[in-house]
C-alpha cells in the first residue's frame, strides 16, 4: 500500500519510459487548431442563433447589419470577422499544402500569429466598449447580456487556443499534455463565468459531464490500462452512491460531510471491486466481460429487492444532504447553487487525472500494460498478475465510487434504475470513443458524448418543435430526439471499433501497435492463428 501511494504521487516513476517518438505531437496541433476554429465559430454563431429569441442586444451580426456600416463598433466587428476568417481557413490551407506535399511558407506562421493576437485584442476592446456602452461594470456579472457574454468568452478562449496552436507550435508538439492542460483547465473554469446568468441546467449538464468523465477515467484503468473488459461498471457507481446516501440522509440519522463520504464511497467501492474481481481473474476476456455484466445486473437487483432494508427498494434513498458551510465569509450552499458542485467536481477530476497519470507511468502502470499485451510474458518477467489485475479492478472501482458519492449528493435521491446496464455502456462508449488507454482521449470522449447526449439531442428537440411550427409539419415536432441516446452509443461503439479502433485520440502505445499491425498480422498468418 505505501508503494502504491508513492506511485500515485508520482514518486515511483522509474526511468524506463520510452523516449517520445519524433513528431508524436503533431496530432495535438491539429486538435488545437480544430478546437480554436470550433470555439470561434461557436462564439460567432451563438448570437446568430440565440439573439433573435432573446431580449438582449449585443454585437451580433444582426446589429452590424442594422446599425449600418459606419459606426466604430461595427468596423471593429468587421475586423474581428476578418481575423476569425484567417484563423478558420488556415488549417484548411495547411492541410491542402500537406496533401499536395508542398512546403509551407514559414512567414505564414508569423502572420497568423499577428492576426490571432490582433483578434484577441480586438475581442477584448469590443467587450470593454460594449460594457461601457451598456453602462455595466467592466468586470463581473451583468444582468442582461448573457448570450453576448458567452459569445465573447468563447471567442477569447478560441483566440488563446489558436495562439497556442500557431504561435507555440514547437512547444505544443513537445509538450502535448501541458498544452492540453493549459487549454482545457481555463476553459473548464471559464464555463461558470461564461454562463453566469444562465439557468442551473448548464451547471447540471457540466456536472454530469464531470461525473461521466470521472467514471470514464476509472473504467479506463480497467479496460484501457489492464485490458479487462468490465461491463458491470455501473455497479461500483451504485455502491458509491448508496454508501453516500446511507451515511448522509435521514435513513440512519447519520449526516457525514461529503468530503469524508467520497473517501468512504471510494474505499467501499474499491473493496467490492477487489472482491468481485477476484473470481474473474482466471477467465478469458469475453467470459470476464460477461461475469462482470452479471455482477452489474445483480447489484441493482439487490438494491431493488431491498436486501437487509439497506436500500429502501425501488423507491431509493432520498433527501441526501448537500454541503453547506461558510468559507472565508462566503456562504457556500451546494443546495441552492449547483455551480459549487461543478467547481468541486472540476477539482476532483483534475486530482484524479494527476493521480492516474502518475500511476500509468509508474511500475504498476507498466505492469498493467504488460498484462494487457501478453499475460504469459508478463508473468514470466516476474509480475504478480493476480494482484496487479485486482489492483486495476480496485482502483477503477474506487474512482467510480468517488463519482457515485458525488452523484448521490448532487441528485439528492439514489434509486436502482439509475445504475442500469446503459450507464455501463455509456461509460464504455466514452472510453472507446475517446481512445482506449489514453487519459486525454477519454476526457475528450466524455466531452463529445455528453455534449451530444445532454446538449445536442435536447437541442434538436426544441429545434424540431420550432421548425415544425414554422414549416407546418407536425410530424417533425413529434420526434423525440432524446430517445436517440441508445443509437448514439451504438453508433459510437460500432463506428469506432470498425473505423478507428484506437479511438479519437489513440494512446501512444496503441498507435504504434496499430501502425505495426500489418506486421503482426502476417506473423499470425505464418503461425496459423489468424
Amino acid at each position: 500500500v505505501p508503494r502504491l501511494g508513492l506511485s500515485l504521487l508520482g514518486f515511483r516513476k522509474g526511468s524506463q519510459d520510452a523516449p517520445r517518438p519524433r513528431g508524436a505531437g503533431t496530432s495535438t496541433f491539429w486538435i488545437l487548431a480544430l478546437a480554436a476554429a470550433t470555439l470561434l465559430l461557436m462564439g460567432w454563431l451563438l448570437p446568430w442563433f440565440v439573439e433573435p429569441f432573446s431580449a438582449g442586444v449585443g454585437f451580433s451580426p444582426m446589429d452590424v447589419i442594422a446599425g449600418g456600416p459606419v459606426s466604430i463598433g461595427s468596423i471593429l466587428v468587421y475586423l474581428l470577422g476578418l481575423a476569425m476568417l484567417v484563423v478558420l481557413l488556415s488549417p484548411a490551407a495547411e492541410l491542402r499544402a500537406r496533401v499536395r506535399k508542398r512546403p509551407i511558407d514559414p512567414r505564414w506562421d508569423r502572420i497568423r500569429l499577428y492576426v490571432v493576437a490582433a483578434g484577441l485584442v480586438l475581442t477584448i476592446v469590443i467587450f470593454l466598449l460594449y460594457r461601457v456602452i451598456q453602462e455595466e461594470p467592466l468586470f463581473g456579472p451583468v444582468d442582461s447580456a448573457t448570450i453576448t457574454d458567452s459569445a465573447v468568452w468563447l471567442t477569447m478562449v478560441g483566440y488563446i487556443v489558436a495562439g497556442l496552436a500557431y504561435g507555440a507550435r514547437s512547444w505544443v508538439t513537445n509538450h502535448p499534455n501541458a498544452a492540453f492542460a493549459g487549454v482545457a483547465l481555463p476553459f473548464a473554469a471559464l464555463i461558470p463565468l461564461m454562463f453566469h446568468q444562465a439557468p442551473d441546467f448548464v451547471f447540471w449538464a457540466a456536472s454530469s459531464l464531470a461525473i461521466y468523465t470521472l467514471l470514464a477515467l476509472g473504467l479506463n484503468v480497467v479496460v484501457g490500462f489492464a485490458g479487462l473488459l468490465d461491463l458491470g461498471y455501473a455497479a461500483f457507481f451504485a455502491i458509491g452512491a448508496y454508501t453516500c446516501a446511507a451515511l448522509s440522509s435521514p435513513k440512519y440519522g447519520l449526516h457525514l460531510p461529503l468530503w469524508t463520504l467520497i473517501f468512504i464511497g471510494a474505499a467501499v467501492a474499491s473493496m467490492f471491486g477487489a472482491v468481485l474481481g477476484a473470481p474473474t481473474l482466471r477467465l478469458r476476456g469475453d467470459y470476464l466481460a460477461i461475469v462482470t455484466l452479471g455482477f452489474g445486473e445483480i447489484i441493482p437487483d439487490l438494491a431493488t429487492n431491498n436486501v437487509g432494508n439497506l436500500t429502501n427498494g425501488p423507491d431509493g434513498i432520498s433527501s441526501i444532504d448537500q454541503p453547506h458551510f461558510h468559507l472565508l465569509g462566503l456562504d457556500v450552499n451546494f443546495a441552492t447553487s449547483p455551480a459549487w458542485y461543478y467547481l468541486a467536481l472540476l477539482v476532483l477530476v483534475v486530482v484524479v487525472i494527476i493521480l492516474l497519470r502518475n500511476l500509468e507511468h509508474s511500475r504498476v502502470g507498466r505492469a498493467w500494460i504488460a498484462i494487457r499485451e501478453d499475460e504469459v510474458a508478463a508473468a514470466a518477467t516476474g509480475i504478480n498478475t493476480t494482484s496487479t489485475k485486482l489492483l486495476a479492478f480496485a482502483i477503477g472501482a474506487s474512482v467510480s465510487g468517488l463519482a457515485g458519492a458525488f452523484y448521490g449528493s448532487m441528485v439528492g435521491i439514489v434509486s436502482p434504475e439509475a445504475f442500469s446496464f446503459s450507464v455501463s455502456v455509456a461509460v464504455l462508449s466514452i472510453v472507446v470513443l475517446g481512445g482506449i488507454g489514453n487519459i486525454i482521449g477519454v476526457i475528450l470522449g466524455s466531452f463529445v458524448l455528453t455534449f451530444v447526449i445532454f446538449w445536442v439531442l435536447p437541442g434538436l428537440n426544441e429545434w424540431s418543435t420550432t421548425v415544425s411550427k414554422t414549416v407546418g409539419v407536425p410530424a417533425l415536432g413529434n420526434i423525440d430526439f432524446t430517445r436517440y441516446t441508445y443509437i448514439v452509443y451504438g453508433v459510437a461503439l460500432i463506428g469506432m471499433m470498425l473505423l478507428r479502433p484506437g479511438g479519437l485520440l489513440p494512446s501512444r502505445a496503441r498507435r504504434v501497435e496499430l501502425e505495426s499491425a500489418t506486421e503482426s498480422e502476417s506473423l499470425a498468418a505464418v503461425q496459423g492463428r489468424a
Binding site: 478469458r284 467470459y287 504469459v376 504478480n384 464504455l428 451504438g490 460500432i494 471499433m497 470498425l498
Partner: protein, 387 residues
C-alpha cells in the same frame, strides 16, 4: 504460444487446475503478508472449495433443482408443482430457442453475439408487422377460417418472420463482425454491444417505451388437457412442440447436410476448413441466419403465448438465454436445448420459492458461478482445445 494455456475458458480441465496451483505459489512468493500459516490455511480451504464446486457443479445444480421442486411440492401440493412445471417448460422452450443462436455463433467464431437477444425482440416486431400486414389478411386467416386457415396463417408468419430475422442476423454479421474476425477478441464483443444498443434504440424510437400488445395471442386458444386441476392450454403445447421440432430439425440439418458438415468443420478449425475448400464466410453467414431464424421462432411463440413484446425485452431474456447456452456447454447445440429447459425450471421454481423478484438475480448468480467455476458447462466440449 497460444493464449488458451494461460486463460483457459475451461478452468474445469485439469490443465486449468495445475495452473491454479502455480498461481497460488507465485502469489505467496510475492506478497509478504501471505506467508503466515493462517493465510496459507485460508488459501488452501478456498482452493479446496474451488475444486469441489468445479468438480461437483452438475450434481450440486441438479440436486438443487430437485430439492426446490420438492419444496414447491410440499408447500403448494401437486397442483402448484404441476402448474409451475408447465410454466417452466414453456419458458424453457423459448430460452432454448434463443440459446441455440448463442451457442452456434460462439461455436463457430467464438463471439458472444450480444445483439442476439435484441434480434429476438426485433423478430417479435417483425411478426407483429407480418401478422397485421396485407390488410390483416394473415391475422384474419388465422382467426377466422378454421383449422386450415390457422395452419396457413402460422406457416406464413413463421416462414416470413424467420427469413427476415435470418437476413437481419446475416446483415449484422456482415457489417459489424466480419471485418473484426481476426481482431483482438474484445473488439467484436464491443461492436456486438453497439449493435445491441442500436437495435434497442431503433425499437425504442419506432415502438416507444411501453409494452406493445401483439395481436396474434388470440390465434391459438382453448385448453388441451387437464390433469386434475392443472390445465394445459393449446398454445403452451404449441410453444414446446415448435421448439422441440425446430431443435430436432436443426440437429438433423447439422448432422446430415453438406452445409451442416461445413459448419462443424469451421467450428473445429477455421483455417483447416478454409484449406479443405469450405467457404467460411458463407458458412458463418448461414450460422447467423439459422441462429436468428430460431430466435425469431422463439419470438413468435413468445408473442403467441404472452401477448406482449417490448423494446428492451431482448436484453434480459438474452442474458438468461446466454446463461442457458453456457450451462449446456457453449458450442454444444444439444446442451443449449437442455440448458434452456433447465434454466426455465430454475427461473420458475426459484422464483416460486424466493419470490418472483429474485428469479433474474438467481439466474445471473448462476451465470457468474458457471463462468467462474465451470466454464465448460454441464456437458460442454472443451473450448480450450480450439485455437
Amino acid at each position: 504460444v497460444s493464449d488458451d494455456v494461460v486463460t483457459p475458458a475451461g478452468a474445469g480441465t485439469r490443465r486449468g487446475g495445475t495452473l491454479v496451483d502455480q498461481r497460488g505459489l507465485s502469489e505467496r512468493a510475492h506478497s509478504g503478508g501471505a506467508n503466515s500459516p493462517a493465510a496459507i490455511q485460508i488459501l488452501r480451504v478456498l482452493r479446496l472449495l474451488y475444486t469441489f464446486v468445479q468438480r461437483f457443479f452438475p450434481h450440486i445444480l441438479l440436486i438443487g433443482i430437485a430439492v426446490s421442486v420438492l419444496l414447491v411440492y410440499t408447500s403448494g401440493g401437486l397442483t402448484l408443482m404441476g402448474e409451475q412445471t408447465r410454466n417452466a417448460l414453456v419458458l424453457g422452450a423459448i430460452y432454448a430457442l434463443i440459446a441455440i443462436g448463442y451457442t452456434m455463433v460462439y461455436g463457430i467464431i467464438e463471439l458472444i453475439n450480444f445483439a442476439h437477444g435484441d434480434v429476438f425482440a426485433l423478430s417479435g416486431f417483425y411478426a407483429l408487422i407480418i401478422g397485421t400486414s396485407f390488410g390483416g389478411a394473415v391475422s384474419s386467416l388465422a382467426t377466422g377460417h378454421g383449422g386450415g386457415g390457422l395452419v396457413l396463417g402460422l406457416v406464413i408468419v413463421f416462414l416470413a418472420t424467420m427469413a427476415v430475422a435470418g437476413f437481419t442476423g446475416m446483415a449484422i454479421e456482415r457489417v459489424a463482425y466480419r471485418r473484426l474476425r481476426d481482431a483482438p477478441r474484445l473488439a467484436p464483443l464491443i461492436t456486438a454491444i453497439g449493435v445491441s444498443f442500436l437495435l434497442e434504440g431503433f425499437m425504442l424510437i419506432k415502438y416507444g417505451p411501453d409494452n406493445v400488445p401483439t395481436k396474434n395471442q388470440s390465434w391459438i386458444t382453448g385448453n388441451a388437457v387437464s390433469f386434475g386441476s392443472v390445465t394445459i392450454e393449446w398454445k403452451q403445447i404449441f410453444v414446446v412442440a415448435v421448439a422441440l421440432f425446430l431443435m430436432f430439425a436443426l440437429g438433423a440439418f447439422v448432422r446430415a447436410t453438406r452445409l451442416g458438415k461445413a459448419m462443424r468443420a469451421t467450428a473445429q478449425d477455421r483455417n483447416a476448413a478454409l484449406l479443405c475448400g469450405i467457404n467460411v464466410n458463407r458458412t458463418v453467414s448461414a450460422t447467423f441466419f439459422i441462429g436468428s431464424a430460431l430466435a425469431a421462432a422463439g419470438a413468435i411463440v413468445y408473442s403467441i403465448n404472452y401477448g406482449l413484446i417490448q423494446w428492451n425485452l431482448g436484453y434480459r431474456l438474452g442474458i438468461i438465454a446466454f446463461t442457458a447456452a453456457v450451462l449446456g456447454g457453449i458450442g454444444n447445440i444439444v446442451g443449449a436445448g437442455i440448458g434452456g429447459f433447465l434454466i426455465g425450471v430454475i427461473y420458475v421454481f426459484g422464483g416460486q420459492l424466493a419470490g418472483g423478484q429474485w428469479s433474474e438475480a438467481l439466474i445471473f448468480a448462476i451465470l457468474v458461478i458457471i463462468l467462474t467455476f465451470r466454464p465448460v458447462g454441464l456437458f460442454g466440449v472443451d473450448v480450450t482445445t480450439r485455437a
